[in-house]
């Protein structure tokens, strides 16, 4: 034992839990057969069991080559709450490329890769498992100097909700009382804040092609961001959707920094194209994100994401609570879709408009781009894709047929909308469109007039233009 260190036979890996959260990168030293040392930072260290840890191996690094020659290693860890340091003397045992340990490390690495769109190139290759020979606590220098401690230590991170069964029941009750999907989305996101304490949340739904997610509602942000999209696999949300598993990043600032650094290295090697930014809706300086898949009947419906400016803001209990809430939302959406499709249209023809179209109203240009279904009001982008084609169909009927009342059934049968024959998302697309029009304070609004019915309310003269294809 050396001065400044304190050997504690009773120290166990589980006592060092806060060293493995990833705030302060661990350091690993190895040596080759010729006695040349190597020292580097580690992206992830994880407890395997009472006597073992696993180190992530993404690049078949010098560390891995040294271990093949000399199985001894030493890892320096920092408890991110107290900044106490610990030394772990290690001996290499085995490398795993599948199984529980590998999968747990892979999820962490995948989440880091997804932050900068590197999920295709930055992957965990192996989990190297080591037996822990000795654990030493390195006394903080302030204790060795016998001085009073400097600065107040930060509080140990705590989860956000700490939800009780009563609170979950309260939210469940709120959702159960919602009569339609629009109300349900608002109630769910508001309830997450009011009942469970998740101040910033985002609900994204899977699109018809199953390759993107679109925002249908959010809570806590300056802009609701309705209609923003992410690809499957991109960012924390896209990764949760692709893997149908919760993704939690507790140290987002550090993870982004590491991910950006790795991305620059891949760009320099020409393995990824520069300039691709993955837009992640949400807080500018988020410290933590937790995304959980919303699934019903074994099928992915969307992703519920919460975030916080606080690092390590979410724990296992939060993840469990979010899973329950996401399942409730997904089930409600599935029920709504099934009900909406099964209820027969009463067959009555929508009535033509009786209100004279105000000749004195200002004119709004509605521009439609066939190539991607995007719609602009004047020069401002509004929406694209299925929702854009629905709006274009509605305003055409409004202008050319003098109609304001519509049914879901006729929209579904309109070939220009291009909905998939099986399992369309018409109702959620209509809600997305309604919310987007409300958010933009557009002179065109959608008002639900009954189940499967809507009215287009227009406060302008519409000039329709189809933009030429490029």
């Amino acid at each position: 034992m050396t001065e400044g260190t304190h050997s504690e036979p009773e120290l166990r890996l589980r006592d060092l839990q806060m060293c493995f959260e990833g705030l302060v990168p661990a350091v690993v030293a190895t040596a080759d057969a010729d006695g040349q040392p190597n020292v580097t930072y580690l992206s992830r260290v994880q407890i395997v069991d009472e006597e073992r840890v696993a180190l992530s191996n993404q690049f078949f690094s010098k560390t891995a080559r040294n271990i093949a020659e000399n199985p001894r290693a030493e890892v320096l860890l920092i408890d991110e709450n107290t900044y106490d340091q610990f030394r772990l003397a290690l001996r290499y045992e085995r490398t795993e490329r599948h199984g529980r340990v590998f999968e747990a490390l892979r999820r962490d690495v995948d989440a880091i890769a997804a932050l900068e769109g590197m999920q295709d190139v930055f992957k965990l290759r192996a989990a190297d498992v080591y037996r822990v020979v000795q654990i030493e606590r390195v006394l903080a220098a302030v204790h060795r100097r016998g001085e009073a401690d400097v600065g107040a230590l930060p509080e140990a991170p705590k989860g956000t909700s700490g939800a009780s069964a009563t609170e979950i029941a309260e939210l469940s009750g709120r959702l159960g009382r919602c009569g339609d999907l629009d109300t349900l989305v608002s109630a769910a996101l508001t309830g997450l804040a009011e009942v469970l304490g998740f101040e910033y949340s985002l609900l994204m739904l899977l699109d018809e092609a199953h390759d993107r997610l679109y925002t249908i509602g959010s809570h806590g942000y300056a802009a609701e961001g309705v209609g923003s999209e992410v690809e499957l696999g991109a960012g924390v949300v896209g990764m949760a959707a692709q893997q149908c598993q919760p993704v939690r990043v507790g140290r987002l600032l550090q993870a982004r920094k590491y991910s950006r650094s790795v991305r620059l290295s891949f760009e320099a090697g020409g393995q990824v194209a520069p300039g691709v930014e993955i837009p992640t809706p949400g807080l500018e300086r988020a410290g933590s994100q937790l995304a959980v898949p919303a699934m019903a009947l074994g099928r992915l419906v969307g992703v519920l994401m919460v975030e916080s400016e606080r690092p390590a803001a979410f724990d296992d209990a939060d993840e469990a609570v979010l899973n329950v809430v996401a399942s409730m939302i997904a089930s409600a959406i599935e029920v709504d879709i099934a009900r909406e499709r099964s209820e027969a249209d009463d067959g009555s023809s929508p009535m033509p408009s009786k209100d004279p179209r105000g000749a004195a109203q200002p004119t709004t240009q509605v521009r439609f781009f066939e190539v991607d279904g995007s719609v602009f009001l004047g020069t401002e982008y509004l929406i694209k894709g299925v929702a854009g084609r629905i709006l274009w169909s509605l305003v055409n009927a409004y202008v050319r047929e003098d109609r304001e009342e519509f049914t879901n059934r006729e929209i579904r049968l309109d070939p220009t909308v291009d909905l998939p024959e099986f399992r369309d998302n018409l109702e959620s697309r209509l809600i997305l469109l309604k919310r987007r029009l409300d958010e933009r304070e557009a002179p065109i609004r959608i008002v639900k007039t009954g189940r499967g019915r809507l009215r287009l309310e227009v406060q302008a003269r519409l000039q329709l233009d189809v933009a030429p294809a490029r």
């Binding site: 400044g4 930072y41 107290t82 060795r144 600065g151 550090q254 650094s261």
Partner: protein
């Protein structure tokens, strides 16, 4: 080898320093460095270590082999110098002033990028230092990514 200015910049000022040594029996040791004085174009530099870390100092006396990785806290760009320690000395007043400056700058950079208060970081600063004279032999890019571990051409 002579250290180029662009590599020196990753080993001085607010750069985080980690150090690897090895015993005569081949047992590796990880510790932290607490500042360097490097003149670009020269091969020898001064490195401050914890005077209480006897295992590290024993390793250096036994084998002299050392690896020093310097990383920019803000970007994680990193280089690793490998070489030999020629001597271990008592630090001068200038060395101690440099250690103070290094810790202040590094923990400020960490606070600005990661949010960890400087005061907490200062808990790590050793009570006493020694200074090692390191002769740099070889340099590696240690920036996280596929090029990590690549040999960097020596010379000015």
């Amino acid at each position: 080898m002579q250290l180029r200015p662009e590599h020196v910049s990753l080993l001085v000022d607010d750069r985080a320093l980690i150090v690897g040594t090895v015993s005569a029996e081949g047992v590796p040791r990880a510790t932290r460095g607490w500042g360097t004085t490097i003149v670009p174009g020269e091969s020898e530099f001064r490195l401050l270590l914890d005077a209480d870390d006897e295992t590290t100092l024993e390793n250096l006396r036994a084998t002299g082999a050392i690896a020093v990785t310097g990383a920019c806290v803000r970007t994680l760009r990193s280089v690793q110098v490998k070489g030999r320690v020629r001597s271990i000395e008592t630090p001068t007043a200038l060395d101690l002033a440099m250690a103070d400056r290094h810790a202040a700058m590094m923990f400020l950079a960490i606070e600005e990028t990661d949010g960890t208060p400087c005061e907490i970081g200062h808990r790590l600063v050793p009570a006493d230092f020694v200074v090692c004279l390191v002769d740099a032999h070889v340099l590696f890019d240690q920036t996280p990514g596929p090029a990590a571990g690549a040999h960097v051409e020596a010379g000015v």
